[in-house]
Symmetry: C2
Subunit: 191 residues, 2 copies
Amino acid sequence: MKVYLAGPDVFLPDPLGMAARKRAICAAHGLEGVFPVDGHPDHPEDPDLPRWLWIYRRNEAHMREAGAIIANLTPFRGPSADAGTVYELGFMRALGRRLFGYSNVAADFVPRTLGFLGPAARRDAEGCWRDGQEMAVEDFGLADNLMIDGGIREAGGLFVRRAVPEAERFTDLAAFEVCVRALASGEGGGR
Amino acid sequence: MKVYLAGPDVFLPDPLGMAARKRAICAAHGLEGVFPVDGHPDHPEDPDLPRWLWIYRRNEAHMREAGAIIANLTPFRGPSADAGTVYELGFMRALGRRLFGYSNVAADFVPRTLGFLGPAARRDAEGCWRDGQEMAVEDFGLADNLMIDGGIREAGGLFVRRAVPEAERFTDLAAFEVCVRALASGEGGGR
């Protein structure tokens, strides 16, 4: 089975090195990892197409051919996961694929959001946390926005969280490997 | 046609007031706006279900019945749009629905990200902006991560950006109305 390896990993200084590491872990469990930057036969680079649109089309093609997604949902430039990765998670849910996610930050969404907001956060009369623009902080004891946790749950998958020191936050693959093992073993393999 | 009205609007102090305003604009153009917090006949509140999972299932049901999404992609707690909204945009793209988005911030993704990163951002030897963890800043002159702009483009939709003063950033509906008009007129109505 092809597994789409979503995440902000594509922004690493050596994305191909990360692709090789993730692919090797997948292969060790009988799975074919597909990294977003991998080439696709139907989507060769096209000088007449804006580069971003070519990348989009290639990523969509990779996803449509994959039976599962393992998304790196480690918080990225804010309290939530990388936006492109979250888009891909929703995309794969709608296709009915298997969904797995991991984060190298163990803290819940609320304390992360409060840490991000700093002194701007305050409780309203009902005890709900609000930011400086009066927008509520979603508080369900989850890892991220409920659509993320909910999609993974509904697909019967896993959202693995693990505390990793900041210096290794985007390179440590222990939580990723838990997802690969679960997918390969059939655990978290659908409803 | 039902239109799913995605956005961090659900976190406003008066989400039902915003739902009524958006629904009225849709109705004036012959469209039925569906707000995430609207009830769904197949998903009454269930005391035996965690509230977040009930909300997830209801939102998914709303999306599956909608022919289009108009997503409030105004940056939310970081350089990108609200994570739940982005998930829903990807979900609707995979279902083949019409996609529209708007942002009440006009600036491109790169200057927004650099403003967020502050002094941590620096250019590497190739001139690529990187954050304090060496992760690249995606630089395509787009409004957000390329998966967001790309999905809307591929669906033949519109991503409307408009500079709105901070105090009205989550309540101004001028850009939303541009999306509604385009959807109702058939413009941006699919590939």
